[in-house]
Symmetry: C2
Subunit: 270 residues, 2 copies
Amino acid sequence: MKIAVVAPSCTLPHEAAERVQAIAAARGDCELVIHPQCFLSDGHFAGPDEQRRAALLEVMADATVDAIWFARGGYGSNRIAEAALGDLPPAARSKLYMGYSDSGFLLAGLHRSGLEVAHGPMPRDVLREGGERAVTRALDWLVRRDPAALEPGLQGPAFAFNLTVLSSLLGTPLEPDFSGAELLIEDVSEHHYRIDRLMFHVTASANVRGVAQIRLGRVVEIPANDPEFGSDEQAIVADWCARAGIRFGGRADIGHDAENRVVPFGMKIS
Amino acid sequence: MKIAVVAPSCTLPHEAAERVQAIAAARGDCELVIHPQCFLSDGHFAGPDEQRRAALLEVMADATVDAIWFARGGYGSNRIAEAALGDLPPAARSKLYMGYSDSGFLLAGLHRSGLEVAHGPMPRDVLREGGERAVTRALDWLVRRDPAALEPGLQGPAFAFNLTVLSSLLGTPLEPDFSGAELLIEDVSEHHYRIDRLMFHVTASANVRGVAQIRLGRVVEIPANDPEFGSDEQAIVADWCARAGIRFGGRADIGHDAENRVVPFGMKIS
């Protein structure tokens, strides 16, 4: 089982790479190939668009690679996400792709192209408290589709997105068809008023209104609202679901933390 | 000339109300009626949704009111913007509506309903440095459509929006038809990476791709990007315009400051 790591968004710290390599080596069930592009730096990004796109296309076209694991989030995968659409190399179709947060742009596009993708922890997560658990969970899914890695409430086709990323991809060529699926959302570092505005935008979408239900993962590192917003993230999400006639299904076990569970996109869960 | 002030978003400070009343009184060409709803407070908002909506509908239905001036931005007008759509009181159709920033949600909806709206300074702006100039410019437009108040580069139908608000209203019932118009954008308190993401989203819209050109107003109070983003707001906007085949027309004289000029929506400029 060969897993290639590329960084379509921001630079991967060397410490994270080393610790994840050590975890993979100790397991003995997978070979982790961390592309040197992960360590490039060009302003906000892990190298210029051209180099990030080239690294992604290189591992997508490599028939010896079984899975592509996005190194971390941040921002920037949308700038090269057209690489996930259109004429894909044939070898791209026999792989699993995993990431979350900013990687959601790519996951959405790859899913649209008919590839197997999953929301799940990334190599950078190893630096979080309890991060080894996150990386182990991700590898358990990548290597052997371990059901224990899955978000526990999944009952049918599902998607999981950072709410800001979801709002930003609506109306773009990356937007998946959400019909009848469950939509799980989470976010980080957004004020309550921004979460409210994002939910206004997202729940106005006819596509989103076609979901079976929305569930809310964790919303963390919320900056202080001045004045106090007046309701919390769960009340905000439940309110906009009610306004839009979308079922709100309660909480989900995903988010920017070590407990973040795996959500395969659009997959039938038996 | 009777101008009603309501606050569909956040609370208007009493000091701002008093200073704007003094400016209007000194002019002697308009009567400013500041609705008591402007001073309500309910969490983030100038009163609960119901009270903000009721105040707006009350002044819209008042045949003695010639113009409605939104007190300030912040966040929240989208929560009551459906009041700008659908069955409007007949008296609503003979008024001018002005505001900017978060008020853009309402301006968009009111424009869609065929009403006369303009991007322009608001009462809260009086508290800015040079704020009296901003309020005087707004009143010059509200009272006598003074061409000196206009953004100087306008050559045809135009729209002006806060970029974040524009991104948030795409795909909602508030979205105007931008075909052939000039689109002016500005923003405040957004990181460079967020401006980049907003431009990705906005320029993916087929509606936005139908504009004559995009011009960029001021983008102020940009929080530090860590690491440095790698390009500035003008380069970001020009880059996404180029990617989307939209003409970038350079800078515009609008923004969150006292120099913010008036942009009537969709109007033919002679």
